[in-house]
Every structure is written in structure tokens, then in C-alpha cells.
């Protein structure tokens, strides 16, 4: 409960609006799914191993492929990450930074789960 309040507060501060995107059971454990929000494709990850949810751009900046939701989850020294299926570039799910030494990065978005519903925060 405490935690939820905090995310809400942060949301308020950054003028984030929370968009309901799916239910928790629509994304299998330790996998990702892609949602469409207007014309944007967002990848959502059900990181069951640590009980966290993450959201990032679905597009991989390497070859501009709409694919990251089909990537493999994992961690590098404790940092949760996703590996692009095409050429295995990996990105931090916290910061979006590329962990395989490339200069590009992906956008990440805040996620909150209430009851069994998943919301992602986007600035409007």
C-alpha cells in the first residue's frame, strides 16, 4: 500500500497520466507483451522472478525493429534486462541503457499494478 501511494505521488509530480493497458494474466510469467497506445508500441514485461513489471519502447534502436516485447528477460549483475531477439543487444529495464556497449538506449516507462490491472505512466 505504502509503495503504491509513492508511485502515485511521483506520478502526480511528473504530470504522468496512468493508462490501463492490460490485465496481469495477459502476459505470461517472465515474458513480455506488446501493447498499442494510440500509434505507439510499448513492450510490457512481467518479470515474475522478482515480482516486478517494466515497460519500454517496443522498437529496438539497433535496426529499428518492433520486437523487444519478444525478447528474453534476464539480469546482468542484478540489473534487470531484456535481450533483443535479432542480434542480442541487451537493455536495462530500469534505465533503458544498452548494456552491451552500444551508445543507443531505449525509453522506459513507469508501471503500476492495481488488483489485476496493469497501468503504464506516460507524460501527456
Amino acid at each position: 500500500m505504502e509503495e503504491k501511494k509513492l508511485t502515485d505521488e511521483i506520478g502526480q509530480l511528473q504530470k504522468i497520466s496512468w493508462i490501463k493497458v492490460c490485465t496481469t494474466d495477459s502476459i505470461p510469467e517472465n515474458e513480455g507483451g506488446c501493447v498499442k497506445i494510440k500509434d505507439k508500441q510499448i513492450a510490457i514485461f512481467n518479470f515474475t522472478k522478482t515480482g516486478e513489471w517494466f515497460a519500454t519502447d517496443n522498437q529496438c534502436p539497433h535496426k529499428m525493429q518492433m520486437i523487444l516485447s519478444r525478447g528474453m528477460l534476464g539480469d546482468q549483475a542484478g540489473e534487470p534486462k531484456v535481450a533483443c531477439p535479432y542480434h542480442k543487444k541487451t537493455f536495462s529495464l530500469h534505465t533503458g541503457e544498452c548494456l552491451s556497449g552500444e551508445e543507443y538506449s531505449i525509453q522506459t516507462y513507469p508501471v503500476k499494478v492495481e488488483k489485476n490491472e496493469v497501468f503504464i505512466g506516460m507524460t501527456v
Binding site: 506488446c34 508500441q41 518492433m66 519478444r70 528474453m72 534476464g74 531477439p85 535479432y86
Partner: protein
């Protein structure tokens, strides 16, 4: 006020200057503006030829545009500096941009030197220096048949390899009486020439070109001796010419034969202007290599930020792979030091030549040459550079310790701590060992990130690896091949543990054997072990699978998938052919006959896959596992049923083999083939296991593959009957599945096996380990539990749900786009 630094030239050295300045962490004091003449940011020119081998311009890029932005460097591309005003301290670009500077760095590199031969302006005449040059050559080569390269030096031979790789008949023309006159002696050059000619390249020595002939485009060359050579493409690679034209106009001092004169600090005749890299002339010398260029960048940076460092004459030792032949020379390679003695080793059969020049008392190494085999180059170079006393039999150092004889005890441990190991990045032995000891670095990747060792030309990589391992050993650390940061076991250990502890899921494996959350290395590896052990439906472990196994199809450019039904042995009925045709037509799929004797349909959206497979399965097809590290195809030739030479029914046998091992998950993919006689039309000897009919039965070959490192399979057993053949294959495959590292094909596995093929025969044929019964039982379990995974998906509505692009919409991915060519659809190119 920030000091303004302008860099003219964004090549390898100009880029390195920026990188080194940033590393000093004083960027707050400087503002950097870089002008580049080429349309793209600096790229790795040293590995330019890799562009022809499939590397993209992007792969070769030193740092992407974002790097410049991130570091506040203003990078202006496609706009060379055309004028310098050293009095007002401004530069003007070709497009008219005027920028003032406090310090100006000339890093304009050099251009290919084109000798004044009449006709060099004709179509089809190229130089070999930039990506654009390569693009032009690539385009032109499509209509050319015979190519020549003028210049038999280092760059000329690089260019010759490219011309040969493009499929042209290739000639190399050298003015001097031998190849690589600057690095090799007569005998070494002869060995190199023989090796190159073995590749089908013709070498013309002592030839100078009088004219390039043809109307608009080149048709032939005429040499000064009157002889003509018909060719339709020419690459001139006869040396380099420093790009000093702008410096000359600005009144800077240049050398007689070109090059901007610099002092020990890289300053030109104008103290605020520096020159570095291939445009700089230091003590009458242009350094045409990247390592000295990087050192010049370091010296210039040091001088600007006010630390002391001077450039010292640089050692021009090099080791290269030219046309697949190792060539190295170091130090005084000709033995011109007074009173030196020479040791020469030559093996004309293998094409190896080695020479070392040593002092009269046999204690000091002055220099030498290696052609055909240069494994010991690093050690020799270090011995020479550090003046290490030679062992009693100095030739051991050059030849390596040969069979039986004790090693000369002359190893890395002899090197002093300040021995420079990576000369591109200036990393010493002490730096490397120190990083292992104090910073807990224990692999190459970590070392590269820590101090950049091995990131330049890559020549020192073997030595860096040895140093890491030696240091770890000396610290009492065990070096073992571990899977990744999450599992400190090798694949073989994990395989045994999974079986013994009856581990059925990844989470169980992680809890009992590993730590953390897993990653893209251990997840598929464990999934493969689980599949090779329990043979359960692969989608049960979907989160562990590479995307191909996750969607039971290969992902392709643009995000669509391919569909490959199994066509055992390549045999197919007309009815089934019609089904493939009509399914492909219905779903608008691109079709192609594969190299594996079956038909691939490309361009299916993820949501269409279950529908497509449903239709195929109804018609009697099953998954071809083209997406899995699993059995792919068993190719066959038509064999005795039709062929007048066929000894047995190779198609029938191929089908039985393919049906026995279909779906089998292994450390890497498996391929097989059956030929009906020694003419070998099915190419069985290039497969993981291949079978060839003999008068008396079958010959079984194992551990071959095509791919990037082709290797022929080795004869394993002769004249055996079908039953024995299958028995051996059962044991062989199971043994491989148990003991190979992840993603290693059978050939790689065998290459690393102590005792090699003889040991393998002992285990599989003589049952020396007493495990053959077990292996056979385990394989029979796999055969008995096989099920087509696509058939399961098609029947299971829960599994079908996975095949969707969006979870909140039924739409297909709207960003997928196609184009039409040759009457079929294709994905649009990568952006």
C-alpha cells in the same frame, strides 16, 4: 573561457584524438569542433575489407553519432576544411563555414597514391581507401570478369583478396622483383607468392605499367616490356600520399615528398597547429599504420592539456593475414645489424618460411620474418622489444617447442611488467596482470572494458587471454569454462546435474545450481539441456527460448517469420507440393527451395502461423524444426532406385534416419545426408553425420559441417549394415548432446576432444567407458517420446493465444512493410 579545438579530419586518428581528450576528463575546459570530409563518422579502416565479408558500415563505425552529441562534440560531416588562416586562427570549410580556433589538429590522413599512368581516369579504375571506394568496386565488379591490382605491398594484397572474393579472375602487378618488398626478404616473398598463386591469383613481378587502355572503360594494361594484359577492372594500391594540400596552402612546413612536418610534441611549424596520423611527417617518416597514429594522438592531447609526453620513433613491426596467409615482420627483418647471424627455417610443402636475426653470441634478437605461420609472433616481438636474453636454442622460440622436446621455458613470465602488449591502446603487461589481480577482471570482455586492451587491431588478443589465464592460475584461481554469471558450471556439468537431480524447470535449476534471474546465454542453454533430457513440449519452456523457438519459426527482417515443413530426405509427392503452393499463395508468402532440399515460405505474420500450420498439418506435414537447435535435414541423392551408379536406396535410408532423429534438441543444429555411392551427390562428408553407400554396406562419417568454418567429416566406420549404422549414430549423438558446450557443432566438439577421432571411436565402437547401453536407451527414449510441436500448438487454444503481436488488439504489426521483386514479396530493408 573555453579553449576551442578544431580537428580537421574524422578518420581513425582524428577520432582517437577526441576519445583521448575526453578520457582526460577535462572536457569542461574545451570546446571541440570536428570537420570530416567523408559522409559518415570515423570508421575502422584497418578492417575495411571486412565490408566485403558482410560487415556493414555501421559495424565498422568507431562510435555512432550519438557519442559525439553526448560528449558535446560538434561534428560536421561531408564538409572538409579547405582553408586555414594561421594568423587570424580560423579555418574555412568547403561549404563556407568559418570557425576560429585556439588549437587546430590536422588529422587529414592520406589518400591512395596513383602513379601518373596514362588512362588512370578511365571507368573501371579504382583506389581502395574508403567505404565509398568499396561500394563503387562492388557495383562495377558485377559486370567485370578479370581484375588486376597494381601494387604487391600490404594494401595491394588486401585489395587483391577483395577482388578475388568478388569472384573475379585476379592479377597482382608489382614493380619490384618481389612481393611486399618493404617487409619481406627474397625467400619469404617467394613462399608468399607460391601460397597466393595456389589460390588462383596470378602474380606479375618486375612489371611496370605503361598505359591503361580502352575507350571509356578499361579493357587492358600495357606494360613497359610491351606485354599486354586483358582486364576489365583495376584497383590501384601503389602506396599512400599524405593529405597535406590544405597545410601547404596555409604555409605550413611540409616534407619534400609530402607530409606535414611535426616535432616531438606533434606541433607543426606553427605551434598552435598540430598534425597527427598519416598526414604527419616525423623525422622524415610517414607512419602508415594505426598504432603510431594513436600514439601521436596521445602525445598531442598530452601537450594540449599540459602533461609531458614525447613521440619516439615507432617500431613498424606488423602481423597481418593476407589472403589467408599469415605474414609478419619485426625489428631488423633483413639482418642489416653488423655482425648479426641468421637462422632460417623453410618448409616448401606447407609453405612456411621463418627467419630470425640474432647477435653473434646468440643472446639478442634483432628482428625477423614469419610467412605461412606466425603463431609465435607476439612472443618474438616481445623478446625483441624488451631485449630479453634468448634461450640456448633460440630457434625454439621461432618454431615452437616441437614434439617431445621440453619447452624452452621461455614464456610470458619472462616479460618485464612494462612490456607493451597492446600497442594500439598502449596497454602493458603490468596493466593487464594488475587488472586481473586488483580489479577482479577474469575474461577478455572484462579486460576490453577495463583498459581497451585488444580493441584495436586485435593482434594481441591471444596474448591478452594467456596473460589473464596465467595470472589467474598464479593466484590459485581455477579457470573453468562456465556458462555465464548465473551458473558457475560448464554445460556438461549442468547436463549431468539436471539428470541426477531430476531438474525439470529453469527456476529449479536457478535455485539449486545458480543465482540471479538468468540471461540470454543460460536460458536457451538450460532449455536445450532440459529438452535433450526430458523431451517435453518446447513451449513449456517458452520464456527460455530464443525467439525462434518461442514462436516455432525463424524470425526474419522486418519481424515476420518463415515456415519450413519437414520434407524427409527431400522426397515429396506432387499432391504435397500443391498444398505448399496453395498455402503460400493463400497467405501471400515468398517461397524458395532451400539449400537443405526443402521449401521455405517466408513473410508470415506471427498471428498467421497457427493457421498456416493447421493447413499444413491437415495435409500430412509436420514441423521441420528449421528454427531449433535440433535435427534439420537429412539430404539424400536419388540413389539405386533411379541412378545407374547407385549401390543402395539412399533416399529410403535418409528418410528413415530423418524420421528417427526429427525433433531431437542438441547443443547446436544437426545435419545429415545419405549418398548412394562415392560420387557423393548428397554431400554427406560435409555433415554432422553422413552416410555413403559401399558395395558391402555403408560408410559412416562424423563431425563435418559447412558454415563459416567448413570442415570435412571423418570416416568413422566402414562397410557396416544399416542396423549397426543406426546404433553408432544413436550413441554418437547422445554422447555429443551430453558433453558438448552450448552452440558448438560436432566438428568443434571433436576438435576440442582430447584424443580426437580415435578416442571417439573407442567410446562409441569399443565402448571403452561402458556407457553405450545407457546412451542407446536414452536415445530410444527421445525417439519414442517425439511429438510434432506444431501439431500440439494447432490443437491447443491456450498455446495458440501466444501468437499475436499486440495483447490489446488483434491487429498485425502496422510497421511491417514489404516490397515486390521478381514477382514475389520481400521485406523492406533495415533502416
Amino acid at each position: 573561457m573555453k579553449q576551442k579545438i578544431v580537428v580537421a579530419g574524422n578518420g581513425m586518428v582524428g577520432y582517437k584524438f577526441c576519445e583521448k581528450l575526453i578520457a582526460k576528463n577535462e572536457l569542461a575546459k574545451y570546446e571541440l569542433v570536428v570537420f570530416g570530409e567523408e559522409p559518415r563518422p570515423a570508421y575502422d579502416r584497418v578492417h575495411l575489407s571486412a565490408y566485403f565479408e558482410g560487415k556493414t558500415a555501421e559495424d565498422l563505425t568507431m562510435a555512432p553519432l550519438e557519442w559525439y552529441t553526448k560528449n558535446n562534440i560538434q561534428l560536421i560531416l561531408s564538409d572538409p576544411v579547405s582553408q586555414i588562416d594561421p594568423v587570424r586562427k580560423t579555418v574555412t570549410s568547403m561549404k563556407g563555414v568559418v570557425v576560429s580556433y585556439d588549437k587546430l589538429i590536422m588529422a587529414t590522413g592520406s589518400a591512395a597514391f596513383v602513379p601518373p599512368i596514362p588512362g588512370s581516369e578511365k571507368d573501371g579504375v579504382f583506389v581502395y581507401r574508403t567505404i565509398e571506394d568499396l561500394d563503387l568496386i562492388l557495383e562495377y565488379s558485377k559486370k567485370a570478369k578479370k581484375g588486376a591490382v597494381i601494387g604487391g605491398g600490404l594494401l595491394g594484397l588486401e585489395a587483391a583478396k577483395a577482388v578475388a572474393d568478388l569472384g573475379l579472375e585476379t592479377h597482382v602487378i608489382e614493380f619490384a622483383p618481389r612481393l611486399m618488398p618493404r617487409q619481406l626478404d627474397e625467400a619469404g616473398a617467394v613462399v608468399l607468392k607460391d601460397k597466393i598463386e595456389e589460390l588462383g591469383i596470378t602474380v606479375h613481378l618486375s612489371k611496370s605499367t605503361a598505359s591503361i587502355d580502352g575507350e571509356h572503360a578499361i579493357r587492358s594494361l600495357t606494360f613497359t616490356d610491351g606485354i599486354e594484359l586483358d582486364i576489365d577492372m583495376l584497383v590501384i594500391s601503389a602506396g599512400i600520399k599524405p593529405r597535406d594540400e590544405v597545410a601547404v596552402k596555409a604555409g605550413l612546413e611540409v616534407g619534400k615528398r609530402g607530409g606535414i612536418v611535426v616535432n616531438d610534441y606533434m606541433q607543426t611549424s606553427h605551434p598552435d597547429i598540430y598534425a597527427i596520423g598519416e598526414c604527419a611527417l616525423y623525422k622524415e617518416m610517414i607512419y602508415g599504420l594505426v598504432a603510431p597514429g594513436y600514439e601521436m594522438a596521445e602525445v598531442a592531447v598530452a601537450h594540449i592539456v599540459g602533461t609531458e609526453r614525447i613521440f619516439a620513433p615507432y617500431d613498424m613491426s606488423t602481423k597481418l593475414k593476407l589472403l589467408g596467409v599469415d605474414v609478419a615482420s619485426y625489428g631488423d627483418c633483413y639482418g642489416t645489424t653488423p655482425q648479426s647471424k641468421t637462422i632460417v627455417f623453410e618448409d616448401k610443402v606447407k609453405g612456411i618460411y621463418k627467419r630470425m636475426n640474432i647477435s653473434e653470441d646468440g643472446k639478442t634478437l634483432y628482428g625477423g620474418i614469419l610467412v605461412g605461420e606466425a603463431e609465435n609472433y607476439n612472443m618474438l616481438l616481445q623478446t625483441f622489444k624488451n631485449g630479453i636474453v634468448l634461450p640456448p636454442n633460440p630457434e625454439d622460440l621461432m618454431l615452437g617447442s616441437r614434439g617431445g622436446s621440453e619447452s624452452s621455458g621461455h614464456g610470458l613470465s619472462m616479460l618485464p611488467d612494462d612490456a607493451l602488449i597492446c600497442s594500439c591502446e598502449g596497454v602493458s603487461k603490468g596493466d593487464i596482470c594488475g587488472a586481473v589481480r586488483d580489479k577482479d577482471i577474469n575474461d577478455l570482455a572484462g579486460m576490453k572494458a577495463c583498459n581497451k586492451a585488444g580493441t584495436g587491431c586485435g593482434g594481441c588478443v591471444p596474448m591478452v587471454k594467456d596473460l589473464i589465464n596465467d595470472t589467474m592460475k598464479s593466484m590459485g584461481k581455477v579457470i573453468k569454462t562456465v556458462l555465464c554469471e548465473h551458473f558457475s558450471y560448464s554445460r556438461q556439468e549442468l547436463y549431468d546435474l539436471v539428470r541426477i537431480q531430476e531438474i525439470k524447470t529453469f527456476d529449479q535449476a536457478l535455485d539449486q545450481l545458480g543465482k540471479g534471474c538468468g540471461c540470454e546465454v543460460c536460458k536457451p542453454a538450460i532449455a536445450s539441456i532440459l529438452a535433450s533430457t526430458w523431451n517435453e513440449m518446447i513451449l513449456k519452456h517458452a520464456p527460455l527460448q530464443d525467439t525462434n523457438d518461442k514462436f516455432l519459426a525463424n524470425i526474419q527482417k522486418g519481424g515476420t517469420y518463415s515456415v519450413v515443413p519437414r520434407i524427409p530426405g527431400g522426397e515429396i509427392t506432387p499432391d504435397k507440393l500443391i498444398v505448399i503452393g496453395s498455402v503460400a499463395k493463400k497467405y501471400n508468402l515468398y517461397t524458395k527451395i532451400t539449400g537443405g532440399q526443402r521449401i521455405d515460405m517466408f513473410g508470415a505474420h506471427v498471428h498467421e502461423l497457427p493457421d498456416i500450420w493447421e493447413e499444413l498439418i491437415d495435409a500430412g506435414f509436420e514441423s521441420g524444426h528449421a528454427y531449433g537447435k535440433a535435427l534439420r535435414t537429412v539430404k539424400s541423392c536419388v540413389g539405386s532406385t533411379w541412378c545407374r551408379f547407385g549401390l543402395h536406396d539412399s533416399v529410403g535410408f535418409a528418410i528413415r534416419i530423418e524420421e528417427r532423429y526429427r525433433g531431437l534438441r542438441a547443443p547446436h543444429k544437426l545435419k545429415s545426408a545419405v549418398s548412394g555411392c562415392v560420387r557423393e551427390c548428397a554431400e554427406a562428408q560435409s555433415k554432422d553425420f553422413g552416410i555413403i553407400a559401399t558395395e558391402k554396406g555403408w560408410n559412416l562419417f562424423v563431425c563435418g559441417n559447412g558454415g563459416s568454418k567448413p570442415q570435412h567429416a571423418l570416416l568413422f566406420a566402414s562397410d557396416i549394415d544399416e542396423k549397426t549404422c543406426i546404433q553408432y549414430i544413436d550413441r554418437f549423438l547422445m554422447f555429443y548432446m551430453k558433453t558438448a558446450e552450448p552452440l558448438s557443432r560436432t566438428a568443434t566438439w571433436l576438435n576440442k576432444m582430447e584424443g580426437g577421432i580415435n578416442y571417439l571411436k573407442e567410446v562409441i565402437i569399443q565402448d571403452s567407458l561402458g556407457i553405450c547401453d545407457q546412451l542407446e536407451k536414452e536415445m530410444q527414449f527421445m525417439v519414442d517420446t517425439y511429438a510434432c510441436e506444431w501439431a500440439e500448438v494447432v490443437r491447443n487454444p491456450e498455446l495458440r493465444k501466444r501468437f499475436k503481436h499486440f495483447i490489446n488488439s488483434d491487429e498485425a504489426d502496422p510497421t511491417v512493410a514489404f516490397k515486390t521483386e521478381r514477382e514475389q514479396k520481400f521485406p523492406v530493408d533495415w533502416k
